[in-house]
Symmetry: C2
């Protein structure tokens, strides 16, 4: 071996050793930091008490409602109390739909049972029937293809009953939701094309329940708007059974919902300024609005308080981020996405550079991982952190998709993420009166907040490129 | 290349190709079978309705109680209804401890608060104070080392208050339990050595609760038995606070528990005979007994019905196991382990060959994986199945440990496993009046049953060697 080669080899080995030491050191430092994040949250976390206030003192927060306005004020105040570098409101006009007095629905003319009161609720955004209600024969379908096959002659003047259940064999329950929700969102306009006078949609649920699940309906502007209600899964099964025995069964619905003029509202934004790359933003967020039937605890009070907690937790452990860490409580995810669209529009105008945007909108359950919309290189980089996150139960990094509110930032180059908690119980509560504070477990919620903080820490420290 | 070499290489490549095809085929076949297991359970599972009956119609099942006897009859009947090849009862004598009339406990002599009623329960196996109760000054400790340091002069004639909380920074909550439960199990005898007249133990919980958690106390035969109660975590915090302000605070406990003579009971056993290696047994089990305060839904009704469901599910999908698959509902896990010891003793006498024994006793929550006590080779083999199990959320295979009831089979060569569900909510319910049917989620329970079935399927198909 020549002397030069020996020297080179020695240098190379030294460099390699140095790298190993440094990389080992960085790994150990990250382990310590992430353990501190989790330990701090599990011993001094405030996320659960924040949620208690938001859900039990403020309550439902439908866009345009007094509750939503109270939620905005709460969010601003909560951020100011944490001593962030800046806190501000972003004005945005939002839809204003009101449910009005409680819905009435009955199965009538059943040879077997006569008249049966059933549990329904108007779908969000639906027009009301008014006090005279809508009554008619019912035709049960499970798909838009069924409508096509039946055609105008079989549908005109009837109420269409969409009764395709969510498929329980999907392990991730959001996939079952995705495969069934077309009935709720587009069912009314699809049925109206064939002359239906109203639609009754099986609640989006995997359970056998007494209560209905609301959620948005989107009307096609080219067809007549018809009233749309969700029916509890128990009553959907009953209606279907009665229809099989007796085609003469009729249905009465009376809803008093109204679509009013848009009203002003706000996104709530707060941030810790980055010390080195202040122009690079890592966003964490949830949506502040909820449906009107419940407290919006899992959907999405949990995501809001977890996002606040990320910033509080970084402050608490004394971590000074290199990049700007921003929490956003988006308004109007449920029925318009107006807050998210306005946020992205302004970000574009201001040429803000969001390198990552992480939403928590799948509930405050035990963490399983993160899904993302990322280039293969970025996904590989995120997955290289898996060994740091696995001790905390975070093992799923292969899923596609970011949250709805962070979606509009993707075209601006942001890698978008969604926090993935365990999905098994989510659809017991989703969009129902059952979505209340007592359904959230303190430790599960805390672990989610710490998981998001850990990801933010790693992105801040190493970037995504 | 010589002709011989060419031929050899060709043969080798053919073999390799054949292996790849076969191995690909086996993999695909396993994927299909495991999907069928999960699909069947999630659409036609009976595990939830089995649990409903066991918990709401039968209820608490403390060893020696009428409920335990009813549980045995239920278990036998449930197995017989499934058309197993054999169902039988294994007689075993079990301890018979009774709580008697409800416990009374008061903080007295508090300068600040006077007398305060507090929530306690006698620990299982504890002697009672009888109607005259025990009253005394209280000395708070957090460890047995504290007792040693304080010594007889500071402890004699007093009630010792063990108040070391479960550590919330453990991510797996059973580790926090393991690090705190010495106070409950051995605290009474440890304190009695220094002349204590009774012990008050902080409930084994991570929450801030009104209700106490029972659980077993084990007396050291060489020291005097003294009464032992668990106090709710809220009242433990109150007592600790009052003691800090005022050393004169006293405590009164009155318990009516009694240790009666052992009584006869049974393990319930059922099996499907193996078609090829009938002498090789794969055991699945849970424990049929519960504490007396609740329905024993998560602990361990869930494990019992999941074990039954494994056999039912294999029958339902038409799988004919090569090995014998046996379900065991063990009696007396909570306060004696007599059922498990008798089962293992008989297995030894009969020279039965248990290749694997899987217990479910960590609740019916969302599956995370399996822990095991296995040789490195066997663990490697089990982990080679991870790709088949990950789609169902089963990602944890590194943990050490099998269930308490299957532990006695290990010296006979069984690889012992414990089903690992998510642990975050378990200690809200454990050994309390809150451990009721409504705390169990249907899908979570079903996924657990299917996970156990999938592991049994893989062990049956490929063995563990």
């Amino acid at each position: 071996m020549l002397l030069k080669e020996i020297v080179m080899k020695k240098m190379w080995l030294t460099a390699l050793g140095l790298f190993a030491v440094l990389s080992g050191y960085a790994q150990a430092q990250d382990e310590v930091a992430i353990k501190k994040i989790f330990d701090t949250e599990l011993t001094q976390g405030k996320v659960y008490s924040l949620l208690e206030y938001l859900t039990t003192s403020i309550g439902p927060r439908l866009s345009g409602s007094p509750g939503a306005a109270a939620g905005v004020e709460w969010g601003r105040h909560a951020m100011e109390m944490e001593g962030l570098d800046s806190v501000w409101l972003q004005p945005v006009m939002v839809p204003h739909w009101v449910r009005g007095q409680k819905e009435i629905a009955r199965i009538i003319n059943s040879k077997k049972m006569g008249t049966v009161d059933v549990n329904v609720c108007a779908l969000g955004g639906s027009i009301g029937t008014g006090p005279s209600g809508v009554v008619g024969n019912v035709i049960e379908v499970t798909s838009f293809d069924d409508l096509k096959r039946l055609g105008t002659k079989n549908i005109t003047g009837k109420l269409v009953f969409f009764n395709r259940p969510m498929d329980p064999t999907f392990i991730h329950t959001f996939h079952a939701y995705g495969a069934a929700v077309d009935q709720r969102v587009q069912g009314a306009s699809q049925a109206a094309k064939y002359g239906a006078t109203g639609v009754i949609v099986r609640s989006m649920s995997l359970g056998n329940e007494d209560y209905p699940h609301t959620g948005s309906v989107v009307y096609d502007t080219t067809v007549t708007k018809i009233p749309a209600v969700a029916i509890s899964t128990k009553h959907a099964d009953l209606l279907s059974k009665l229809l099989k025995e007796d085609k003469g069964v009729q249905f009465y619905i009376e809803t008093h919902s109204e679509i009013l003029d848009d009203v002003p509202s706000f996104n709530v934004v707060g941030e810790i300024k980055g010390s080195e790359y202040a122009d690079e933003i890592i966003l964490v967020g949830g949506h502040l609005d909820s449906w009107d039937l419940a407290q919006g605890a899992q959907d999405d009070g949990a995501g809001c308080v977890q996002s606040l907690e990320v910033l509080r937790l970084l402050n608490t452990i004394g971590y000074k981020p290199k990049r700007t860490i921003r929490a956003v409580l988006f308004m109007n995810e449920e029925n318009g996405l107006r807050g998210a669209l306005e946020y992205a529009r302004l970000a574009g105008l201001k040429k803000e550079k969001h390198i990552a945007a992480i939403e928590s909108d799948d509930g405050g359950f035990t963490p399983r991982g993160f899904s993302m919309e990322a280039t293969p290189d970025i996904r590989t980089k995120v997955k290289s952190w898996a060994n740091l996150l696995e001790p905390y139960g975070l093992t799923e990094f292969n899923g596609e998709g970011g949250g709805a509110d962070v979606g509009p930032l993707k075209p601006q180059g942001a890698t978008i993420f969604e926090f993935l908690p365990d999905s098994q119980r989510y659809f017991r509560y989703h969009h129902t009166k059952e979505d209340t504070f007592d359904k959230v477990d303190k430790r599960e919620l805390e672990l989610g907040a710490a998981s998001m903080t850990a990801l933010v820490y790693l992105i801040d420290r190493y970037g995504l490129k």
